[in-house]
Amino acid sequence: MAAPDLLDPKSAAHNSKPRLSFSVSPVLLNTPEDECDTRTTVMRWKTVSAIFFLVVLYLIIGATVFRALEQPHESSQKLAILAEKLDFLAMHSCVNSSELEDLVKQVVSAVRAGVNPSGNSSNHMSLWDISSSFFFAGTVITTIGFGNISPHTEGGRIFCIIYALLGIPLFGFLLAGVGDQLGTIFGKGIAKVEKMIVKWKVSQTKIRVISTLIFILFGCLIFVALPVIIFKHIEGWSTLESIYFVVITLTTIGFGDFVAGEKGGSDSSEFLNYYKPVVWFWILVGLAYFAAVLSMIGDWFRVISKKTKEEVGEFRAHAAEWTANVSAEFKETRRRLSVDIYDKFQRAASIKRKLSSELGINTTLNQELTPGKRALSVNLYEDREACPNSTLSLNPITGTLARNGSFYLNGLSPDYADRQEIAIIENLK
């Protein structure tokens, strides 16, 4: 009763359910009203595809602008570094360290501009052709930001700022929509699987756990394992490097030490033109998946902290209940004791009343007494009036005296009767 959430398995399972989408309400896996579901799905699908086309258009515009701004600058840098290299080769006599430092500085700054001075200039791919600019724009609005390509002109940088300001919220909306779609598709699949599992009479919590595991496994297969194999094959990275690239990209960290599609030389340029947009599309869907995974991990953190809080709360409630019980018991004992004493007091009072009522009856009998008795009784009566406090002590004696008539007038009172009356008096006291 203190912590109903923990006792109720359904609500406990609700806390640990994976958050499959960005929407406010978690995806209900057993929705009874299917027609409402399809209706909202249809509207969302239209919105999502509209936003998707808008984003693609935005990216193409960004790519064109970047190319127009950056490519002239890049070609001039390329020419400069080539001239440097030729000069160096011309004077191939002893080189002193300062000239070497100069060369290295030039090389480093060229690399930072994205130009690789090694190799010939013929098979050099421009870093700012359409597909690469598209890729760069994609990395900016997804906030991954690899950094292997970055704008170097002032105009490029200012445009980058404005571009990101508008593009990041736009991409956020798109991601929310894609995440919802993903969640719905997955939810439908899980509902089918759940219908099968329910036949096995497994508890609700177990179903949730199984669905989470399936979600993780399936998603990892599609969005992580498959791309890892593809990257390993195409880029020539090791398995670890491919996994590293996938994780760093999909969490939007984006260091840029490994970038897909960076190696320009080996394959034909047409293939590369298709390869980069496919990679970007994979990034989009994979980002939605990773956002779901990360929010699930965040939910686990929340559940752990909530459970801890509940356990602490339950413990506190138990402690409070224990103290309450103890004090209630104490009060009850006190009450019973006081009731006992009160009872005894009542009994004593009733005995007193009884005895006093008996004495009241006997005073009417005094009129049949002999003159001697009457005198005694009158005397005693006078005595009684004089000392009213001691009526209790005198009455039984006079009572018995009166009752037994002249037998007691002589003062010869049998001990028995006296002792009995005295005993009653003692008890009452």
Binding site: A2, A3, F22, S23, V24, M43, F88, H92, V95, S97, L100, E101, V104, V107, V108, V111, N116, S118, T139, T143, G145, F146, G147, S150, E154, R157, C160, I161, A164, I168, F173, A176, L240, E241, Y244, V247, I248, T251, T252, I253, G254, F255, G256, D257, L294, G298, F301, K309, G313, E314, R316, A320, E321, T323, A324, N325, S327, A328, E329, K331
Partner: protein, 319 residues
């Protein structure tokens, strides 16, 4: 301990744990990467000596040399004379790296070189990123009340309608954030960093606070930087605060859009109170919704203590 104090304690605990997590990551990275970096540096030195010994240079050896220099430079190792003192993986730099990892900024000017480092960064990121999000959300919810709700109420009390009030407040907040987190830091950066202009400073601030993190500008990596440790720590604090402000702006904008009906128009998830309460529950206590739960149990317990309310011991137990 009242519930408000408890929520502050919890938040402080969160922030403390966040700092400890960063320190832990920094130590791990430092211990993993530093030996590899030293070895690479030694290799570069040897290469340079070899080159200098050669009297005649041909193009193949030059190409080899250049390729090696470029590969080293990609990982942040420079072969220049006066930059051999500062390591990229001492404690503050590793912490800086860990910070860029968990805030998903990811500059990339120094990246893990060894395989172990790469594997470790994978796990570190998978746990650290949601945790950072949690901490940031908690902080934002905390400062939401004094920075957003109170001024809006103030504006409303001074006679404005709710919709224009939220709009005006959002503009004011935007102005303050741009001033404090873009203009002023850009001025500071352009004066401290020798090769940066003011525009470069603003560009850097924007790219970092949107967590894009291209990495073409990274503060504190110039050779011969004075007070490098302190500088990098300050930049980390600035990044965290700036991120928090961006989240706050985003949330305020979402609420404003909600109020103006934009979210229903675009069929986006609402920023409604139920979600807020649900988010707030384990993180930020002391709000009314959450006080109900512990208050409930306390009320039940205190009912037992009222004298004379129960007639017999049995009813106390069953109540």
């Amino acid at each position: 301990m009242n519930s408000v104090g408890r929520s502050w304690l919890l938040l402080t605990g969160f922030i403390l744990f966040y700092i400890i997590y960063l320190l832990f990551g920094a130590l791990m990275f430092s211990s993993i990467e530093r030996p590899v970096e030293d070895k690479l540096r030694q290799d570069m030195e040897a290469l340079k000596q070899e080159f200098l010994n050669q009297s005649c240079v041909n193009s193949t050896s030059l190409e080899l040399f250049l390729v090696k220099v470029l590969t080293a430079n990609k990982y942040g190792v420079s072969v220049l004379k006066n930059s051999s003192v500062n390591s990229n993986w001492d404690l503050t730099s590793s912490m800086f790296f860990a910070n860029t990892l968990v805030t998903t900024v990811g500059y990339g000017q120094s990246t893990p070189l060894s395989d172990t480092g790469k594997a470790f960064s994978i796990f570190y990121a998978l746990i650290g990123v949601p945790f950072t999000m949690l901490v940031l959300t908690a902080c934002v919810q905390r400062i939401m009340c004094p920075l957003v709700l109170a001024p809006v109420r103030l504006l409303q009390r001074s006679g404005m309608e709710p919709r224009p009030a939220t709009f005006v407040h959002f503009l004011l907040l935007l102005l303050v954030v741009v001033l404090c987190f873009f203009v002023v830091p850009a001025a500071v950066f352009s004066s401290v960093e020798l090769s940066w202009s003011f525009l470069d400073g603003i560009y850097f601030c924007f790219i970092s606070l949107c967590t894009i993190g291209l990495g073409d500008f990274v503060p504190g990596t110039q050779p011969g930087q004075k007070y490098r440790q302190l500088y990098q720590v300050t930049v980390m604090v600035y990044l965290f605060l700036g991120l928090m402000m961006m989240y706050l702006l985003l949330r305020t904008f979402h609420k404003m859009a909600d109020l103006h009906g934009l979210t229903t128009f675009l069929q986006l998830p609402h920023c409604d109170e139920s979600d807020l309460e649900d988010d707030r529950e384990p993180i930020v206590e002391g709000k009314r919704e959450d006080q109900a739960a512990p208050c409930q149990t306390e009320k039940e317990a205190s009912k037992h203590l009222k004298p004379g309310s129960q007639s017999t011991y049995n009813t106390i137990h069953s109540g």
